[in-house]
Point group: D2
Chain length 291, copies 4
């Protein structure tokens, strides 16, 4: 029989991921700040813990998929936090997006207390989570990662080993930098062409016909054409990631000139009230203003 897995975080990403663990036959115990959100999982067979602490008592493998570093800290050290129940024999996999630095610090505290820590953020958004098409960016002690790979493999189509703890988050930052720049690039190119009298439809037709065509652009075409940006990955979260990227570049010495500008553009997007829209809404910032 497979060991029980604890899972914390029932958001856009966590929900389908937890559901996929259940479908794969794992015994699942969950916790979520807003317990009601866990209801569909309970109905599908998961059991609900009253607190992170209770969850950490009951399982040896705990997965976090929460909204960022503050939420991770809260789960571990907040009221009825999980930290005091961790220790030797327990493994914590953080799949939430945090900065590499935060992840290294987390590793230092947790492994110092005997817990096995794995930093394993994911590349891919809601749709990929549902379709088990995520790419898992796993880092930490190599044998420990190998041991949990069967679990991680349940959540996506590929598990890539990135190095010691923190390097998964570094990979996530690299990929999200590219993701942000490609999306902003498409938005700027469409806005540029439109200001010059071309139809967005024609531009996207040419893009899709050649070597610039990719899954991302297909996913966002409808948004650019309709001017509606229902959030798959909200701009406010992408902005947070862009700040992690620039903070990280500040530490590593990476140049990242385009990344600096991207952060600035995202921040303008937030000022324009686009934080809750999909990050493709950066198009609205790049559009030539009327007149």
């Amino acid at each position: 029989m497979q060991p029980a897995i604890g899972f914390i975080g029932m958001g856009i990403m966590g929900m389908p991921m937890a559901a996929n663990l259940l479908k794969a036959g794992f015994t699942l115990k969950v916790y979520n700040r807003t317990a009601a959100k866990a209801q569909p999982l309970i109905e599908a067979g998961a059991t609900l813990a009253a607190s992170p602490r209770e969850l950490a008592q009951e399982v040896d493998l705990l997965i976090l998929m929460v909204t960022g570093p503050e939420a991770v800290q809260d789960v571990l050290w907040g009221r009825e936090g999980a930290f005091r129940e961790l220790g030797p024999g327990k493994t914590l996999i953080n799949m939430s997006t945090v900065s590499p630095r935060f992840s290294r610090e987390l590793n230092s505290v947790l492994s110092g207390a005997g817990t096995t820590f794995i930093d394993a953020p994911v590349s891919g958004s809601k749709k990929a989570a549902e379709e088990k098409a995520l790419i898992i960016l796993a880092s930490g002690p190599q044998e420990a990662v190998a041991q949990v790979t069967p679990v991680l493999a349940t959540l996506g189509k590929k598990v890539v080993y990135c190095g010691e703890a923190g390097q998964g988050s570094m990979m996530k930052m690299s990929i999200n930098l590219l993701l942000g720049l490609m999306m902003a690039g498409l938005a700027e190119a469409v806005a540029f062409g439109r200001a010059g009298g071309l139809s967005p439809e024609a531009i996207l037709e040419v893009v899709h016909a050649g070597p610039l065509s990719c899954g991302l652009f297909q996913l966002k075409t409808e948004m650019l054409l309709s001017g509606e940006f229902p959030p798959q990955f909200p701009l406010k979260h992408m902005t947070k990631d862009a700040k992690f990227i620039i903070d990280t570049a500040f530490e590593t010495g990476a140049g990242a000139p385009l990344g600096h500008l991207l952060l600035h553009l995202y921040r303008r997007g937030l000022s324009h009230g686009l934080g809750e829209e999909d990050f493709a809404a950066i198009y609205r910032v790049l559009e030539a203003p009327p007149g």
Copy 2:
């Protein structure tokens, strides 16, 4: 019998394009400043004209694929230029990359003199030209474009009608803006990750596994991994295009913040002596300097 086609410009792009016209069965008369470069085509059945003027006398359909606006002007108005032999009944298709403004001005002068002018730059580089995988961005009078579409279709996999003369060049600028931003984005993401301790191989593996994967990145992966950038599309030409893009944005009012930065980065690349390398060599500018 199909009418003879005149073709001027035996460069990286022009050469395989002219060869494809020959292979498609068209009678081809060519001219090139350096006549020797035309030799392979002559051997394949083309005939050589002594000047643009002579070529324009002999054919009704003239195609230009030269290095830019100066070369176009030289072909038309230089010594023994083609202009004086053009006029009613003649069609000029310019496939060279020029700014939309230049193309509109060219159209004004040529159509004013009775010549049918078609602005039809291409998206795609050397390999696409050889494999007839170009996308032809055609613009001009709709019936005239329709009439030459059988010829254009011989050169690529798709002919997209973009509007009145100049709009093909506008589309080309839009696509090249995206092309430049995607390539620079990949270069910056790889440089960023590498400064953070990741291997370029691992980063590219993750990129290729997900929705950011595209033909362009596959084409450039080997360059990024080897650090060698043999020119498929030289940085100096891409820089010229980036300047056209910013000049165009200046006229249309498009914002193009990323485009401005891209031009700046390309210019740093030229200062670093990378002009003759492939434009993927922008990676060298984005790499964190040692120490």
Copy 3:
């Protein structure tokens, strides 16, 4: 008796400059596209020419202070233009702002036809023109510049020799680059502090108390505090200059990263309808949007 001077251009700058020539005792013949604007000068003793051509016939020294390269071309080669009356024995001083390249080309054509050409734009705006506080950035053959220095000295407080024709315009670009960056810097610093809860008054008090204090900031303080930007030097003209700067950097290989961004910000300013405001109105672009 001092020789008569011809002066073309009765705009914000040309008007007080021409008036200062009159006050200094020079015989002045003027031309302006809108003749009515010359009325105050006529009343003060100047005579009016019917065309640039007529003016060039009557004087040996012709000064242009018009709105830019197009206006210079129009004065010289437009209907009844001055060019055909220029030649050996005649001197043309262009004080209008143009790019170094344009100025070099102008020099090539004019000196090729025997005319002495002096490129002498000015640093300073309306108030400096009125108070003879301009700095004259003179370039051209050294003896020719020496010869007209008594005339130029009448218009400002300093004549700086910058080198061969075109270098005066190069100096003007350098100074305007700094001017634009300082103004934008002040605007951004005030907007930044204000977003953080400081009063603009307090920020400007600190600026004026220390080593960042300068005449420019004193001149613009009232604008930043009142939010009204009556044009001393309109943003649309400054934007044109910023474009010359970037075009020039493109030719010389100068990096100019801040200049690229400045041009982008100015262009956003034009999009926001600020073209007719003083260039200090870039503040409105840099202000944090409400909410």
Copy 4:
């Protein structure tokens, strides 16, 4: 008799500031991590404390002028730190440069424990510190600031009240943003002109003759002309401040596009090994590379 003042931090700035307090007749007790550095002050009449804690026991007014937030934390909470000896009746003035956020958090902890906290960074560098020409950017409870103003006035030429604790640091960020942009603007303008064939001497002559002339540019002219950048304010510290500025903009929502680029340029400067040079050495980054 005036009360004794405790002063921690004997660096480039702290040293002349402490000396000025002594000269003004204050009884001074000092602490420095490297005790030897305090020797000149001891000889001038100051007494040396063995630790921050000892110093805080002995005085009611403690001034910090250390290298940044980490050093402030170390002084307060490190081994033999001052914190446990603070409390009601004691006043701490932090004059070190920190972010507004750090200052507000410090205020929260200190005032929560009954200590009066004043955030009072300075505008001006080494020379201004020596000549008592600093501008003191004081913030905190208005009466408390009023009470220490006689002490602060001893250190500079002006004390500006900026609001509640943290706002002095906000003002410092605003001023340093302008400082950095002006210096980078001058450097870029000189580099631009030089790439166009002008001599730096001529450019600076024109700058100094007009409304852009200011104390800062006079201070840095010799550096730009000689190419030597002896540190008055090292680039590495300015880079740290630029990061605080962008972090602050991220929190307040200020746009700061030029500030983002400035941070990027500074970081390139560090990569070029310029961290220990004066921040005017950004000129080396902006110079057109040879060839």
